[in-house]
C-alpha cells in the first residue's frame, strides 16, 4: 500500500510540475499587419505647443453629463486645439446601458466601446459615478478622477509645464479597403528616460441621438449632438512602446503607422478623428496629445 501511495503522490507532483510552458526567444509569433499606406514625410514643428487630453466619462441616460460635455466645449473654445477631448461611454455604468426597445425608441443606440470599457476597467472612473473625467490621466492625491468643475484649473496647471514631446499625425482613408491608416510622428523635446507608449484612438463627432439633460427643456433630447465619442483603439488600447521602451534623446524622432478597418460599422468617415497620445507606462501620465481628422 505504501508503494501505491508513493506512486500516486509522485505522479501528482510530476503532473503539477509539468504544468509549465517555457517560452524561448523571440517570444512572439507573426501578427496582423500594421499600416500599409506609404510612410509620409514629417517636418519638425518650429513652435510646438503642449496639448492636454481630457477624457469625459459619460452616458446618454445620465442627466448631469451634458454639463461636462459643455465644459469640454467651453475649454476647447478657451484654449483652442491645446485641449483635446475624448468622450467615453463605458459599459461599466448603468447610465450607458442601451434601453430595451420602447415606443419612442429612446436610448437604443449603443455608444459603448470595448476601448472605453478597457480604459474604465483600469482607471475606475465611470464605475463610480458620472459625469467624471481624467485630465492627462494624472492622479492627484492618489485619485486620477477629476470632476468637470475642476478641469479648467488642471488644464491651466498642466499647460504651464514645459513640453516634453511633440506629436504630428497624417491620416489616409482607403475607401476600397474601408480602412483608416494613420501615421504618428513623435519627437522628444527633452531627454526622456522612462518607458513611453504611443496610443492611437478613433473618435467620432456630430452623432445625432438621444440624450438626457436635467435642467433642459425638454429633459430628454432626441437630437442631441454627441461629439468626440470613442469608437475604437487603433493601436492596442495600452499602446506600443516608443524606442522599445528605452530612453529618447532630445530631438530624437520616430514614425509609427497603424491601420483600422471600418468594415461593418456605422461610423461616418467624414466625422472620424484620430487622437494620439504618448504616456509614461510607469504611471499612465500623458505627456502630449494630438488630434487630426481622418478626412481633413
Amino acid at each position: 500500500m505504501k508503494t501505491k501511495k508513493t506512486i500516486g503522490l509522485l505522479l501528482a507532483i510530476i503532473c503539477f510540475v509539468s504544468s509549465c510552458d517555457y517560452i524561448d526567444r523571440p517570444y512572439t509569433v507573426p501578427g496582423p499587419n500594421g499600416c500599409t499606406s506609404p510612410e509620409p514625410d514629417f517636418i519638425p514643428r518650429q513652435n510646438p505647443v503642449r496639448k492636454i487630453l481630457i477624457e469625459d466619462f459619460t452616458g446618454h441616460r445620465c442627466g448631469f453629463c451634458p454639463n461636462a460635455h459643455n465644459e469640454l466645449t467651453d475649454l476647447q473654445t478657451q484654449f483652442g486645439d491645446q485641449v483635446i477631448g475624448i468622450v467615453e461611454h463605458s459599459a461599466n455604468n448603468s447610465l450607458t446601458d442601451v434601453a430595451l426597445p420602447n415606443p419612442e425608441n429612446k436610448y437604443i443606440y449603443n455608444f459603448r466601446s470595448a476601448a472605453a470599457k478597457a480604459i474604465d476597467d483600469q482607471f475606475q472612473v465611470a464605475v463610480n459615478a458620472i459625469p467624471n473625467g481624467m485630465v492627462n490621466r494624472i492622479a492627484v492625491g492618489g485619485d486620477v478622477k477629476i470632476a468637470y468643475q475642476d478641469w479648467e484649473n488642471r488644464v491651466t496647471t498642466l499647460l504651464a509645464i514645459p513640453q516634453q514631446m511633440d506629436i504630428q499625425l497624417k491620416n489616409y482613408w482607403d475607401p476600397a479597403a474601408k480602412s483608416v491608416c494613420s501615421y504618428a510622428y513623435t519627437q522628444a523635446l527633452e531627454d526622456l528616460n522612462s518607458n513611453y507608449k504611443l496610443v492611437m484612438l478613433l473618435t467620432e463627432s456630430n452623432i445625432v441621438n438621444w440624450q438626457k439633460f436635467y435642467g433642459n427643456t425638454p429633459e430628454e433630447i432626441p437630437d442631441y449632438i454627441h461629439n468626440h465619442v470613442l469608437r475604437a483603439s487603433i493601436t492596442n488600447v495600452w499602446g506600443v512602446s516608443l524606442a522599445n521602451g528605452l530612453s529618447m534623446k532630445t530631438g530624437e524622432s520616430l514614425i509609427n503607422g497603424y491601420s483600422i478597418s471600418t468594415e461593418n460599422t456605422d461610423w461616418n468617415i467624414d466625422e472620424l478623428h484620430v487622437v494620439a497620445f504618448v504616456y509614461d507606462a510607469t504611471n499612465f501620465e500623458i505627456i502630449q496629445a494630438e488630434e487630426q481628422k481622418v478626412i481633413p
Binding site: 500500500m1 501505491k4 501511495k5 500516486g8 503522490l9 505522479l11 501528482a12 507532483i13 503532473c15 503539477f16 510540475v17 504544468s19 509549465c20 510552458d21 517555457y22 517560452i23 526567444r25 517570444y27 512572439t28 509569433v29 507573426p30 501578427g31 496582423p32 499587419n33 500594421g34 448631469f64 461599466n92 483600469q122 464605475v127 463610480n128 459615478a129 492622479a139 492627484v140 492625491g141 492618489g142 485619485d143 477629476i146 470632476a147 468643475q149 475642476d150 484649473n153 488642471r154 496647471t157 522612462s194 518607458n195 493601436t235 492596442n236 495600452w238 506600443v240 512602446s241 522599445n244 521602451g245 528605452l246 509609427n256 497603424y258 509614461d280 507606462a281 510607469t282 504611471n283 501620465e285
Partner: protein, 575 residues
C-alpha cells in the same frame, strides 16, 4: 487542457487512495448521543457567524474634491453563517453593496448575492472542502487566498481542496479552482500542491530539547487560455504566451531555545503580464526572518528580495483583483493616523529589496521598579532593484545584491510609560523617507519626500470606568511647490480627544489639518466625530466628518480612497 484534467484526477485519486487506508472506527463521526433512558438525543450541530455593515450618507464637498454621489447613500454589508456538526461543516456569506459599494471600494462589487459557500468534511487525516475556501502556502509567496474586508480585497478560490495528514507532523495539501472576480470567477485555473513537515512532531525528542525544525515545499500553477496580445515593441507581432505558468517555493523554519528563524525561496517561470509590461523574465522571491526573545527583550531581523513576482490568475489584470500570492511587508504597521496614512508603503510586487530590524525592550527593575518603560525601536528600508533593460521582451537583468533607487525608509522609536494607576502615555518619533511616485504608482519621476513625525498620546482614568485620551501628532515636511494641486502636500497636524465610559460607550473627535499645504485653499481641516457603543461582541459606531483622499494600506496591499464628506454608520456583530 487534458494535462490539467489528468493532474486533477491524479491528485484527487492519490489523496483518496492514501486516505482510505487510514480509515478506522475511531474516526467515525458520532452525530447522535444515547441517553440513559435508551432514547437518542439528536445532535443538530451548531451555527455561528458574524455580521458587518458599513454605510455612508454623502454630501457634496468640492473643497476636498469629493466625487459627487448622485444616490447619496451607499453601503457594504455581509453576513457569515457557519454550520458545524461533528466533522462536517458548511458555510456561506451573503454580501450586499447597495446601491453601489462605498466610495473607494471597487465599483465592480455592485450588487448582492452569496459568493462564498462551501462544505467540508474530515475523515481521519483527510479533510476535503468543496466550494469556496481560503488558503496559504508557507509565507504566501506562491499562494495566498485571503480576505481583507477593509481593503475590499477578497481572492478566495472556488473549487476543491484536500488536506491529508498521514502522520502527525506531515501535512499534504492539493487544490484546484478559480479565483473570485467580484461576482464571478477569473479566467485562470489554479492548481496547487503543498507539503509541510514538522520534525518536532515526527521526533518528539527534538521537542523535548526545545528544537524546532520545519521544512516545506509548494508548487502552484495557473492555466489561462491563449489570446492575441500585440507585442508592445512591434505591433506586427503577437506574443507567444505561456498558457501554464508555474511557481514553486521551498522553506525552512528552525528554532532552538529563544532563537528562531524562517526562510523561503520562490521561483516563477516566464509570466508575461500587464503588471510587468508583458516581459518574459522569470521571477524570484526570497524572504528571511530571524528573532530572539527573552523576558523584557525581543529582537527581530527580516530581509526580502522580490523580482518580477506579481502572480495573478489573469495575465491582463492590475490592481487588487486576482492576485494569487502575497509579498510580506517588512515595515512597521503604524497605528497613529499621520504615521500610517499620509505616506504608507505599497509593496512593489515586481521588484524591491527590503530590510527591517525591530527591537522591543522593557527597562529593568532597578531602573523603574513600579512602572517599567517599554521601548520599541524599529528601522526598515526598501530599495528598488538595480536593473539593466535588455531592450527586448526578456525585460531586464539584475545584480542579485544590487540596490537600486531608494523607495522608502522608516526609523522610529516609541516609548510607553505608565506614570500612575491613572495616567499613562506613549511618545513616538519617526523619520520617514518615501519616493511617492514610485511607491504609490504615480510615475517614475523621482518625488522624494522626507518627513518627521511626532506623536504624544496621553490617557487619564479620572474615575473608575471613565477615561479620557488625548493625542497630538505632527508631520513636518517640506512643501512641494511643483505639486500645487496635490491635496496631500506639506506639513500636517492632528489632534484627537476620546472619552470612554467603560465598558459600553465612547466618543471621539479628531481633526487632521494640512496646515503646511503650499496652496492656501488646500489647508483643509478634516474633522471627524464618532460615537460608539460596545456590548459583548457587538460594536456600533456613528460618525460624521470629512475623509481625506489618499491611500489605505494593510500589509503592503493598498487601495485608493477618494475624499468624502458625510455621515457614517458601522455595525459589527458575531454570535
Amino acid at each position: 487542457m487534458k494535462k490539467i484534467f489528468l493532474a486533477t484526477i491524479i491528485v484527487a485519486f492519490s489523496t483518496l487512495l492514501s486516505a482510505q487506508t487510514d480509515k478506522t472506527d475511531s474516526t467515525k463521526t458520532k452525530l447522535d448521543k444515547k441517553l440513559s433512558d435508551g432514547t437518542k438525543e439528536v445532535n443538530w450541530g451548531t451555527i455561528h457567524g458574524n455580521f458587518g455593515l458599513d454605510a455612508q450618507y454623502y454630501f457634496n464637498d468640492s473643497l476636498i474634491a469629493a466625487p459627487v454621489v448622485p444616490e447619496k447613500f451607499r453601503m457594504n454589508g455581509f453576513l457569515n453563517l457557519v454550520y458545524t456538526n461533528g466533522n462536517f461543516s458548511a458555510g456561506l456569506r451573503y454580501e450586499a453593496y447597495l446601491p453601489k459599494p462605498l466610495l473607494g471600494f471597487d465599483a465592480r462589487y455592485e450588487g448582492q448575492g452569496i459568493p462564498f459557500r462551501y462544505a467540508s468534511y474530515k475523515l481521519g487525516g483527510l479533510e476535503v472542502t468543496a466550494g469556496t475556501f481560503y488558503e496559504q502556502f508557507g509565507n504566501g509567496l506562491v499562494l495566498r487566498a485571503y480576505e481583507e474586508r477593509s481593503l475590499g480585497f477578497d481572492n478566495f478560490i472556488d473549487g476543491f481542496r484536500a488536506k491529508y495528514t498521514p502522520i502527525q507532523g506531515i501535512t499534504l495539501t492539493g487544490l484546484v479552482g478559480k479565483q473570485r472576480f467580484f461576482w464571478s470567477w477569473g479566467p485562470g485555473l489554479i492548481k496547487g500542491f503543498n507539503t509541510d513537515i514538522n520534525f518536532a512532531d515526527l521526533f518528539p525528542k527534538l521537542g523535548e530539547k526545545k528544537i524546532k525544525l520545519m521544512v516545506g515545499g509548494s508548487f502552484v500553477s495557473k492555466y489561462q487560455d491563449n489570446e492575441d496580445i500585440v507585442n508592445p515593441l512591434d505591433p506586427n507581432q503577437i506574443l507567444n504566451l505561456p498558457l501554464n505558468v508555474g511557481a514553486w517555493s521551498g522553506r525552512l523554519g528552525f528554532g532552538v531555545g529563544r532563537f528562531s528563524m524562517n526562510a523561503e525561496l520562490a521561483y516563477k517561470i516566464n509570466d508575461p503580464n500587464r503588471t510587468n509590461g508583458y516581459i518574459y523574465k522569470p521571477g524570484s522571491a526570497f524572504y528571511f526572518s530571524a528573532s530572539y526573545a527573552q523576558k523584557g527583550l525581543g529582537i527581530t531581523v527580516q530581509a526580502k528580495r522580490i523580482e518580477n513576482f506579481d502572480f495573478r490568475s489573469d495575465r491582463n489584470m492590475t490592481g487588487q483583483p486576482l492576485l494569487m500570492n502575497f509579498i510580506p511587508m517588512l515595515n512597521k504597521q503604524h497605528t497613529y493616523a499621520l504615521a500610517a496614512t499620509i505616506y504608507p508603503y505599497a509593496v512593489q510586487t515586481n521588484g524591491e529589496l527590503g530590510l527591517q530590524a525591530d527591537i522591543n525592550f522593557t527597562t529593568p527593575k532597578w531602573v523603574a521598579k513600579k512602572y517599567p518603560t517599554q521601548v520599541n525601536i524599529n528601522f526598515s528600508m526598501v530599495n528598488a532593484l538595480d536593473t539593466n533593460i535588455t531592450g527586448d521582451l526578456y525585460g531586464y537583468r539584475t545584480d542579485v545584491f544590487g540596490f537600486g533607487r531608494q523607495l522608502y525608509m522608516d526609523a522610529n522609536i516609541e516609548i510607553s510609560q505608565k506614570v500612575s494607576k491613572k495616567v499613562k502615555f506613549n511618545l513616538m518619533y519617526m523619520y520617514l523617507f518615501i519616493d511617492k511616485n514610485l511607491v504609490q504608482g504615480f510615475g517614475s519621476t523621482p518625488r522624494p519626500i522626507n518627513s518627521h513625525i511626532i506623536v504624544a498620546d496621553v490617557s487619564y482614568k479620572f474615575l473608575p470606568k471613565h477615561t479620557i485620551r488625548l493625542e497630538a501628532q505632527g508631520l513636518i515636511t517640506e512643501q512641494e511647490m511643483e505639486h500645487l494641486d496635490d491635496r496631500t502636500n506639506g506639513s500636517w497636524v492632528m489632534g484627537l480627544a476620546e472619552y470612554t465610559f467603560s465598558p459600553h460607550f465612547f466618543v471621539s473627535v479628531m481633526d487632521q489639518w494640512n496646515v503646511g499645504n503650499p496652496t492656501e485653499d488646500f489647508q483643509i481641516h478634516y474633522i471627524t466625530g464618532i460615537v460608539g457603543y460596545n456590548n459583548g461582541s457587538t460594536r456600533i459606531t456613528f460618525g460624521y466628518g470629512r475623509q481625506r483622499a489618499g491611500i489605505i494600506c494593510i500589509g503592503g496591499v493598498c487601495r485608493q480612497v477618494p475624499a468624502a464628506n458625510g455621515f457614517t454608520l458601522s455595525i459589527m456583530s458575531s454570535f
